[in-house]
Subunit: 428 residues, 2 copies
């Protein structure tokens, strides 16, 4: 039986879980691929850190780069998770040495995926990153293989489990954003140190970039587009949305509009009885529109070491079975450049929440500003806060474009009766 | 560029749509695989039948077997759809001649899949049947590849679009089974001639057998198990379910219980606010429990030529990309035999509907019979039909096993006041 040497770099929550899985599933892998895997090198900063699963200290390397000098490696797992630095370096060297690479690192792939996939192609090895998007859901494989000849027009979904957990839990527990965030950190659903990259939409946006690239057979976009997180969502918004029969969800959306690429991540108001509104907690969901397949939905655990390991192991089996593939489904030479859609044209109904001084004339100032930008009001709710002589004004507009909405929001900036930047949530 | 010769046998709704797709997607296939496909032979009974898409009559063969004599073929699509006869013969010959085979034929695979996959393995060619289960949803690929090293414990879902359409439409239009069936036949959602194989659960059961086999790395089961269709569901049942906050769905379920295989297809009462209750119309959905991935859900169009072609084409691309695979994910020599779970132990709450003469004592006879088999009543509704001196009695029981339920149902047979075999629907 052919023996395959494996190296594993990065022994955080995911790397450590994966190490255990690799050892546990050896027999199963032999059964399904006819190959015997052997983890010959592991690397992390701290050899003696307390870890959930026991590691083999005999094969431990403090410096990941020394692995390459000392061992013959066939497949390398990169589980450090940086977009640059040592993550990039390890992957680069591996590919150049004709070592297959598997990584869950969305930051790396969404930034350097084009370059790294070229390297892989040149060196005739695989670069696999199923785990980088939507955890255990095999969405990349589904796009590359299961729906291979479909013309995909749109992909959207809930791509960040941390945000979805927080939004779900705010609704269920009726608690503030910061309280729920603390809870999420304790439960391990949010980074204890710096949860910013989840909360500000960056994580979901990185995933959207990878999804676009695969769905539309194009290079990874470098353009900045619309990226908003959930940091400004207050319990008040969730409560009002609830009354209006909506739920707040952070959605990532990518589509081709007249052959222009439109990628965005932002909170949305979604109807409570819609499918996406009922994807709760840390679950992820991806919805694709393809021709001729129609609408396809995939849902599963979007994060956590179990789900992530499941995806990493599927990449491993694909390589062991001898499936040589282009990382993005077709040769880099064939991937297109697609220019970006003009964000100003993005048209939605909007939810605005204004926190104002409860003085005569304020409401009229707001509605006048809206009228100036031809934004018409569909629904208006005023919630008084008599004690503090303040009020919340919630407006649901008819459809309007980003250009007008942004110009209108600028008008409010100079209004001293509007106490903070109004909250805007787009209706989906 | 390498040229690949393709033959297509069977030009019904699916075969004809596929023929059009194969011609339409040539460029895309070249881009993704570096191979040029060419349909060199098509075969069907009637050359001149009116078809939605134009066929090339120059490559038409009335007898599918003559294709093999006249042309060099690399890949064959079998789209006739029989479980035996010419379908089996064509696939058999092709595999023996080292021709890759792709088929959406669940009847063939669920019956002869073990034998045919052995043939494929011996001849080192692929036998692909993604389209045989859940139409456009790439569920087989997901089990074989995307979730390859997961320990799957349970798979269930809505696997028959015809039944799901009928149940959904009965609820929405408040019409009888037979009226809605007629509508389904007009719309092309049910076979115009003989819809029996959809309605009696056979179609869903064939899919469940294929799913079990892949999920549990075992041979295809030959055992008969629990297979019930929706033919006995009346609008009355749907109406009462609705009042009780349930919906009726035909589910296919397979799981390993203490290493015994338990496959079944039957109508279920599912809670209205559950995910599965909200999969409507011709949609299919499959839910998997895997370790470590957790719960994974896939939903999409379960039937129709577009969705089916999407799956057939994904099989084609897999072959063209050179992915040589075992049809069931591992070598036939490694697939296990798993014995069957004892159906008598199957335990559920049950919904019974009795149609009775409205006479004193009937209700007491029914409850006595239930008590005899230690089946306790959780809920009872009696709906009088004064005009005809009849009544419907609906009973929701506490959990009981099949053995007791079946014995109890036998007791009712001799009761002349019970006018027909009681309707039983299991609660999910």
């Amino acid at each position: 039986m052919k023996k395959i040497n494996i190296a594993l770099v990065g022994l955080g929550q995911i790397g450590n879980y994966l190490f255990n899985e690799l050892n546990k599933k050896k027999k199963d892998i032999e059964l399904k691929t006819g190959k015997k895997i052997n983890v010959v090198a592991i690397s992390a900063k701290n050899k003696n850190k307390k870890r959930k699963f026991k590691i083999n200290k005999k094969i431990f390397y403090k410096n990941p780069l020394s692995i390459f000098k000392l061992k013959k490696i066939d497949i390398l797992f990169e589980c450090i998770g940086l977009s640059d630095g040592i993550s990039k370096k390890v992957v680069e060297i591996a590919l150049k040495k004709k070592i297959h690479v598997i990584t869950p690192n969305k930051a790396l792939i969404s930034k350097h995926g084009d370059y790294l996939s070229k390297l892989a192609e040149q060196n005739k090895v695989n670069l696999e990153f199923e785990a980088s998007v939507a955890g255990g859901i095999p969405i990349l494989r589904t796009i590359k293989e299961g729906l291979a000849t479909n013309k995909i027009s749109k992909v959207y979904g809930i791509l960040n489990g941390t945000c979805n957990y927080i939004l779900t839990e705010m609704e269920n527990s009726k608690q503030s954003f910061s309280n729920v965030l603390k809870k999420a950190q304790i439960l391990g659903y949010a980074e204890p140190g710096n949860p910013k990259l989840d909360l500000n939409g960056y994580d979901a946006f990185a995933k959207i970039r990878i999804l676009s690239s695969l769905s539309f057979n194009k290079n990874i976009s470098k353009q900045n587009c619309l990226m908003e997180g959930i940091e400004n969502i207050e319990f008040k918004d969730i409560e009002i949305a609830d009354q209006l029969n909506f739920r707040v969800k952070l959605l990532g959306i990518t589509e081709l509009i007249n052959n222009k690429l439109f990628e965005r991540v932002h909170p949305c108001l979604v109807k409570k009885d819609s499918y996406i509104a009922n994807v709760s907690g840390v679950m992820n969901a991806v919805i694709l529109h393809g021709d001729p397949v129609g609408e396809t939905v995939l849902q599963g655990e979007g994060a956590g070491p179990g789900a992530t390991s499941s995806a990493l192991m599927s990449d491993l089996l694909s390589i062991l079975r001898g499936n040589i593939k282009f990382p993005f489904g077709l040769s880099n030479r064939k991937r297109k450049f697609v220019s970006s859609y003009d964000l100003n044209k993005y048209t939605n109904s909007l939810y605005f929440r204004f926190e104002v001084n409860d003085k005569p004339g304020v409401l009229s100032q707001i509605t006048q500003s809206l009228a100036k930008r031809k934004i018409s009001v569909e629904r208006l709710i005023q919630i008084p806060d008599h004690k503090n002589k303040k009020a919340s004004i919630i407006i649901i507009t008819h459809k309007t474009n980003e250009l007008d909405a942004n110009k209108c929001l600028k008008l409010f900036k100079t209004n001293k009766n509007i106490l903070k930047v109004p909250t805007r949530i787009r209706l989906f």
